[in-house]
């Protein structure tokens, strides 16, 4: 069934990854309240977006096994992500919008 991949993480490692994801989520929520108290502005946005991207990469890389797959899949997936990001950023800036906290 899964002859094309090898050296997948063990259940133990999957649990470890879950712990990391949980911690990252906790930091995110913490940042939200910290920002309410201190008004960190753009810094808050940068940190929160970085954290979200980190979680994103971890889930895609380990849980979806993209790290262990053929490069073709990675290329398609990344292409879709980057294309969506680029196009919609242009749309938002053309419509004059930066609608996130501190932006």
């Amino acid at each position: 069934m899964s002859s094309e991949h090898h050296a997948h993480p063990t259940p133990r490692q999957y649990w470890m990854i879950a712990v990391i994801l949980a911690v990252l989520t906790a930091i995110e929520v913490g940042m939200f309240y910290l920002d309410r108290a201190l008004s960190l502005g753009a810094l808050n946005a940068v940190i929160l977006i970085s954290l979200a991207l980190l979680k994103f990469v971890i889930v895609v890389g380990w849980y979806m096994h993209l790290r262990f797959e053929k490069g073709t899949l990675n290329k398609f997936f990344t292409a879709g992500f980057i294309l969506a990001g680029a196009l919609y950023l242009v749309v938002l800036s053309a419509l004059g919008v930066v609608a996130i906290r501190g932006g």
């Binding site: 073709t72 879709g80 294309l83 196009l87 749309v91 053309a94 419509l95 004059g96």
Partner: protein
């Protein structure tokens, strides 16, 4: 399993009788049959869209004409555009892709045959759903929207009840808020939005199918850069569809929610932003332009080399230019919006980006010219249409560059100059290319060649009619004649050229009648084509015509680009192609071997489930339009039950019936008989 393996070696397993007869067309999962279904459906809608265009032209042949009401005129240009884009060119391209991609890459079918059938049926029902607006659509206040004022008059214009006018009338681009609940009350625009949603789903599924097919099912040795250009262009189109359809899906959902459930996405007075619709629509709409033209470019890139007796000039340049057009095509959408109030920076950026598209397009045009240069050209009907494509597309491309110049575009926006431009690329381009393909691959379908004399008559009539129709639109537009307007005053002096345009439109219509006659006549009385009527280069011509159900008796192995050509031709000392002495023997052997598989060939079995699964969608969508009534809710439920049950049945049913256990006795005898005869 072992017992069967022995039997496989001695008999030819043929699937049960359901591969012929009308039921087979409902249940088929064969890419060739699905391609033919797409083709006929597309041609049917070509005729419908054409009739709509003729009605428009009759209206415009006279100043201040009263032939159509304003509402009917709006409805007709909306449906003409929608039909030609979504119900004609796209399915026509899908027809060629379905039929040809597996043959050109040496495969027996696409990667997901049942999904392929599902795509077709979703498209089919979506098209019926969209056109049912002529019977069920209204321009009265929609059921369900509260506080919507009634319409001015049925059809939104002067005049009494007019069933033509009770169809979608917001343009194929559905600009907001005009197409929203306030200014287009009634259900007609809901039919439009939901109909396109269904049709888009069909294209999304088939794009995934083609991508996987091309990536995973190429014959041994068929590396990516050995694929025919048509396959390349189809792959590029599949990616364009894959990435642009989700955008229009969201935009159409937003319209539907605005119209049906009271959301406020495009309601300017409540904070909605109509410009967002334009961005989303053209984010999809501009790649869509290349979705329409690239398959035709692929066809032409196959036809020109064959009838010039030369390889395609700069194969890899043509391939990369195609990919570059697609990539750049995603970055130029706002050039449709220069007059919509976008910032100067955006105008400059999108203007420049648009001009860069001329570079890969130019590369292709020079490659096509280079292919013909010094070739031994045969002016057969497919070649004439291909040359017509190159010439007309070049004119359309040049007028396109003039839109990239922003101040010039402001003058041209919403005039007939724009209409002239996109008909030169879409009719002069895509339609000429598609006809080139029809004449070229007709033998593949039928084993006959289309009558060349009638074919040439068709070409010249269409060519002259086309230019009579669309060339004068350039100057009409520059004189200020506006699009999408049902009347013009006599003192504008626009009438003479409009008469010419209308005459041209009828010449085109006549030329299409010649084509239809030729098609049906040649199917019966055409000359037998044999296996290789054109002295062709690509794999689909290395198997018998009409194509056997299993495509390739033995899976081909490819060693170079234009593999089939090199089976017939050697190079002499000066690099010129010399037909090999044994070329005729090679062809005779291919013909014999192609008709007589030496081993059992298992093909996926027909299935009812794609048809049933697709059937649920229009029923659900009718239900959404009438969702406030019990009737509508019942429809949603019924549709969901049909689709879900079909999905379960699909999941349980195997793609191929277990053919090992029993073979129908008659079938086996027939197979054995066939073998004996061939021995």
């Amino acid at each position: 399993m072992t017992a069967t393996a022995e039997r496989q070696a001695t008999t030819i397993f043929k699937r049960p009788s359901s591969t012929t007869g009308w039921v087979s067309w409902l249940t088929t999962v064969d890419h060739k049959k699905i391609g033919i279904l797409y083709g006929y459906a597309a041609f049917f809608f070509f005729l419908i869209g054409g009739i709509e265009a003729l009605l428009l032209r009759v209206q415009l042949a006279q100043a201040n004409s009263e032939f159509l009401t304003a509402g009917a005129y709006n409805a007709l240009f909306t449906m003409h555009g929608t039909t030609m884009v979504f119900l004609f060119i796209m399915p026509a391209s899908a027809a060629f892709m379905n039929y040809l991609i597996p043959l050109m890459i040496g495969a027996r079918d696409v990667a997901f045959p049942r999904l392929n059938a599902l795509s077709w049926w979703i498209f089919f029902f979506g098209a019926i759903f969209l056109y049912s607006t002529f019977f069920f659509g209204t321009s009265l206040a929609p059921i369900g929207a509260e506080g919507v004022p009634g319409n001015l008059a049925p059809g939104g214009g002067p005049g009494s009840f007019n069933w033509l006018a009770d169809s979608p009338d917001g343009g194929w681009f559905g600009y907001q808020p005009n197409a929203g609940p306030l200014y287009s009350p009634g259900t007609a625009m809901d039919y439009w939005a939901l109909g396109l949603q269904i049709i888009g789903l069909a294209s999304l599924i088939s794009s995934i199918n083609f991508i996987v097919t091309v990536l995973n099912m190429r014959a041994k040795g068929m590396r990516l850069l050995r694929m025919p250009v048509f396959v390349w262009m189809s792959t590029v189109v599949a990616f364009l569809l894959l990435f642009s359809l989700p955008i229009i899906a969201v935009a159409l959902f937003m319209v539907t929610f605005d119209r049906q459930f009271g959301s406020l996405f495009f309601a300017a007075s409540a904070g909605g932003d109509p410009i967002l619709w334009q961005h989303l629509f053209w984010l999809f709409g501009h790649p869509e332009v290349y979705i329409l033209i690239l398959p035709a470019m692929g066809i032409v890139s196959e036809v020109l080399p064959v009838f010039s007796k030369k390889p395609l000039f700069g194969y890899s340049a043509v391939v990369f230019a195609g990919a570059a057009i697609a990539f750049l095509g995603f970055g130029v959408w706002a050039h449709h919006m220069f007059a919509s109030g976008i910032t100067p920076v955006a105008q400059a950026a999108f203007g420049l980006a648009t001009m860069t598209i001329a570079i890969p397009t130019g590369i292709k045009i020079f490659n096509w010219l280079g292919t013909m240069w010094g070739g031994r050209i045969r002016f057969t009907p497919p070649m004439l249409f291909a040359i017509g494509f190159v010439a007309m597309f070049t004119i359309g491309g040049l007028s396109g560059v003039t839109h990239a110049v922003v101040p010039s575009d402001w003058q041209q926006t919403d005039t007939y100059y724009i209409v002239a431009h996109f008909h030169y690329v879409l009719f002069g381009g895509a339609v000429f290319g598609l006809f080139a393909g029809l004449y070229y691959w007709f033998p593949k379908l039928t084993g006959k060649v289309m009558n060349p004399r009638l074919g040439k008559t068709h070409f010249w009539m269409q060519f002259v009619g086309f230019n009579l129709t669309f060339a004068p639109m350039h100057w009409l537009g520059l004189q200020g004649m506006v699009r999408r307007t049902w009347k013009y005053a006599p003192e504008f002096g626009l009438e003479p050229w409009n008469v010419v345009v209308t005459i041209g439109a009828f010449v085109i219509a006549l030329s299409i009648l010649v084509f239809i006659y030729n098609w049906y006549h040649s199917r019966r009385h055409g000359e037998d084509s044999g296996l290789d009527p054109w002295d062709a280069r690509t794999l689909e011509w290395s198997i018998p015509s009409p194509t056997p159900e299993y495509n390739f008796a033995t899976p081909p192995v490819v060693t170079r680009l234009d593999h089939f050509w090199h089976m017939k031709y050697d190079e002499d000392a000066e690099g010129r192609a010399v037909r090999r002495d044994d070329a005729d023997e090679v062809i005779a052997r291919l013909e014999h071997d192609g008709n007589n598989p030496t081993e059992a060939i298992h093909l996926p079995n027909p299935s009812y489930f794609p048809l049933l699964l697709a059937l649920g969608f229009p029923i659900i969508f009718y239900g959404i339009i009438y969702h406030t009534s019990a009737f509508g809710k019942a429809l949603i439920l019924i549709g969901a039950v049909i689709s879900l049950s079909a999905a379960i049945g699909w999941g349980i049913e195997p793609l191929e019936e277990p053919h090992d256990e029993h073979v129908d006795e008659d079938e086996r005898d027939k197979a054995v008989d066939k073998e004996l005869v061939d021995e």
